[in-house]
């Protein structure tokens, strides 16, 4: 039984713990021994993308030390996992020994859906979610980690769930981490188009694999008065989507 560390991510921790518990349950169901390192905080992505490579490096070293003892590190976010897998070696480029440690840990660090499918060959059983849904492919997961087929394969095993195509499914939603507050007007223009595409899809539910993007899209849909419900795909897969969605209370 592989010993897996759950990398909860800041947004799941603070805003939507359900996503963390859904990830925990899925990993347990897939046959992992899951632990949650209680010393974990932020992966340092906001610092790195702001140009503050030194502080990003500080947080990267912390993360590596904390997660190194496990067989695998798994997080429910392509963006946070992309930071640790793709960008830690860049953030630590000045320090070859640490950069090498980052690369080695990166090989054992996975986004949740890709870990479940590619490593654990997991398929959900007995999960029902009667709804029509559409899927937004978050950019970091898609382009830094190649997450595309895995969530579709998993969702294909959910009873009653009908998937509808989303026009521009691989186009950025305008979140971009700190981008959305640095350039709110541009970000708004981008997410407005995304919300319109979601509404045109005719789906009742919007799914995705990254909370930042989901909160951005849910926030816009709610402001628009749209009835579309928004969930992290892990919540549906874990059979936890009977709770209120991100876009309702």
């Amino acid at each position: 039984m592989p010993r897996v560390a759950l990398f909860v991510t800041c947004l799941a921790d603070a805003i939507r713990p359900s996503v963390g518990f859904a990830a925990l349950k899925l990993l347990q169901d897939a046959g992992c021994k899951v632990e949650v390192p209680m010393q974990q905080t932020c992966c340092g992505q906001p610092a790195f993308n702001s140009g503050d490579t030194k502080d990003a490096g500080t947080l990267a070293r912390r993360f590596i030390e904390l997660f190194e003892p496990y067989d695998y590190v798994v997080g429910p976010s392509g963006s946070c996992v992309g930071m640790t897998r793709a960008h830690y070696p860049e953030a630590l480029a000045d320090d070859p020994a640490w950069a090498e440690r980052a690369r080695r840990l990166g090989e054992r660090t996975f986004e949740l859906m890709s870990f479940l499918v590619d490593v654990m060959h997991y398929k959900p059983t007995g999960v029902r979610f009667p709804a029509t849904a559409t899927y937004h492919d978050s950019c970091s997961g898609l382009r830094e980690l190649g997450v595309f087929e895995q969530p579709r394969a998993l969702l294909g095993a959910v009873g009653g769930l009908e998937m509808k195509p989303l026009e521009g499914n691989d186009v950025c939603c305008g979140f971009g981490g700190t981008f959305c507050v640095k350039y709110p007007a541009i970000s708004n223009a981008v997410v407005s188009e995304k919300a319109a595409a979601v509404q045109r899809s005719g789906a009742q539910v919007l799914l995705g694999g990254d909370l930042g993007c989901l909160i951005n899209m849910a926030g816009k849909l709610h402001r628009n008065g749209s009835p579309v419900r928004v969930y992290h795909a892990a919540e549906v897969l874990a059979g936890m989507a009977d709770a209120p969605s991100i876009s309702e209370k």
Binding site: F21, R143, K182, Y183
Partner: protein, 471 residues
């Protein structure tokens, strides 16, 4: 209209509230995106071609000195006169001096973004030389008195309806029917005489062929052939990164360039220039000059974080697929080159201090690199500028201070946990209905969208009390 005096933010805000501009951008980039996707799908070897294109460019970048000297030697042997310019000013001064030497009253210009980058249109106007733009889109830009907003479609910020109005107001015999063909005819009637009576023609180059000293220019209107033959003098201005070893290398890159830019298999015209009119030639210029422009390129060669940008073949695919560009168009970027490639290049030309907003105006979504025909890691290069801006102390003090505090807290889990719980409680207070519609400090978000109230306690607090744990 000099938008460059405004800040990037102000220019973006202006662009975002212009529905006609948005319509024009959507029409052009939407078509470009569809056609490129179809062209790539119909060319199964695209990935292999992309890899080859990248290797050709990297090889030349590795051996710049060798190919530059080879090109110069062969160009001179073909009868061309070669000039070297290290800065934009020097380059445009060389061109204007050549025009003066030729007693030029009227010059024709074939669209060249390098010409824009070295300020040539302005320099010619200031020298009192009549400048005739021969590319249809550049003609529209000239009539409008503004600047190109895209490197492939310089007038993409104008709808055809606006262009129709402009032609009616300024052409001697304007079109009567509202069709594209009639509008093109109107431009042809207006421009054709001028093409034939110019004293000097100035063009750019898509490729410089080292083994022959020839230059290669692609157009869809044939203006690079039509307007460079009649005048007495032809001047080519080109950035030194346009070098390729020989013709097959140019064609390898051309296959990528055209598909990525317009989705066509080939351009309508692929024009080669090699030396002046030779004895026995029926026509051609008596003098042929090539101005090789550095303007920051050797600096990019020396800097690890920018070297890969020298691969750029100026197809425009990165901007056509950029969510930021597609909301506001090219003028908001303030430089000659817009979109992701422009956000990398403009700080090279204009200095980071004045342009540090550009590398930040990007969500780092990676689409630009995905569609780049020579695989330039644009997000990495943009982040590289952010890193440099941070190191040089150009980022706002509040940001630096905030990031310092954040790192301090995130390095201390107990304080971090406490902070997270407090933040969650605060968000809960403002979001009692389930949603936060406004909250101090959250204005940039809530101006446009709602923020979901947290579910309750943090994950870590709930997990610590035993929730979700199995034996």
């Amino acid at each position: 209209m000099h938008t460059s005096v405004l800040s990037f933010r102000a220019r973006a805000d202006v662009a975002l509230t212009d529905p006609t501009l948005k319509l024009a951008i959507d029409r052009t980039t939407g078509t470009a995106e569809r056609k490129r996707a179809a062209a790539v799908a119909a060319f199964p070897q695209f990935d292999a071609a992309r890899d080859r294109g990248k290797r050709i460019k990297d090889h030349v970048i590795e051996h710049f000195d060798h190919y530059l000297l080879e090109f110069e030697r062969n160009a001179i042997a073909s009868g061309a006169q070669v000039h070297w310019a290290s800065t934009a000013d020097e380059a445009s001064r060389i061109v204007v001096d050549l025009c003066r030497k030729a007693n030029a009253k009227r010059v024709t210009r074939v669209k060249s973004m390098l010409g824009e980058a070295i300020g040539l249109p302005h320099a010619l106007d200031a020298a009192g030389i009549e400048r005739v733009e021969t590319d249809l889109a550049e003609h529209i830009v000239q009539l409008g008195g503004d600047r190109p907003s895209h490197i492939v479609w310089p007038s993409m910020h104008r709808t055809r309806e606006q262009v129709s109005e402009m032609f009616k107001q300024s052409h001697r015999v304007p079109h009567r029917e509202e069709t594209i063909e009639a509008m093109v005819d109107s431009a042809r009637r207006e421009l054709r005489d001028k093409f034939l009576s110019a004293d000097v023609s100035i063009s750019g180059a898509n490729f410089l062929l080292a083994d022959t000293g020839a230059t290669c220019t692609v157009t869809n209107e044939g203006n690079a052939e039509l307007t460079t033959s009649p005048p007495r003098m032809h001047i080519v201005t080109a950035g030194i990164e346009k070098l390729v070893p020989s013709l097959p290398h140019a064609f390898a890159l051309l296959r990528l360039l055209v598909r990525s830019a317009t989705g066509a298999d080939v351009t309508q015209y692929t024009t080669f220039h090699c030396g002046p009119k030779k004895p026995g030639d029926l026509d051609g210029p008596e003098e042929f000059h090539i101005v090789l422009v550095d303007n920051g390129r050797t600096k990019m060669l020396a800097e690890a974080g920018l070297r890969e940008m020298l691969r750029c073949i100026r197809c425009g695919a990165c901007m056509n697929h950029c969510v930021v560009f597609r909301q506001m168009g090219g003028h908001a970027y303030g430089g000659t080159y817009p979109g992701p490639m422009g956000a990398v290049l403009t700080p090279v030309f204009d200095g980071l201090e004045k342009t540090r907003d550009l590398p930040h105006a990007c969500t780092l979504n990676g689409k630009c690199q995905e569609v780049c025909p020579v695989d330039i890691p644009l997000p990495t290069l943009l982040r590289g500028w952010r890193d440099r801006s941070w190191r040089e102390g150009l980022e706002p003090a509040a940001m630096r201070f905030g990031m310092g505090i954040f790192t301090f807290v995130a390095s201390r889990p107990r304080i971090y946990r406490l902070g997270a719980s407090m933040a969650v409680r605060m968000l809960g207070l403002f979001g009692r209905s389930g949603w936060i519609r406004s909250m101090p400090g959250l204005g940039a978000w809530t101006a446009h969208r709602d923020f979901p109230a947290p579910e309750g306690r943090t994950f870590m607090a709930r997990y610590a009390s035993g929730e979700g744990q199995r034996k």
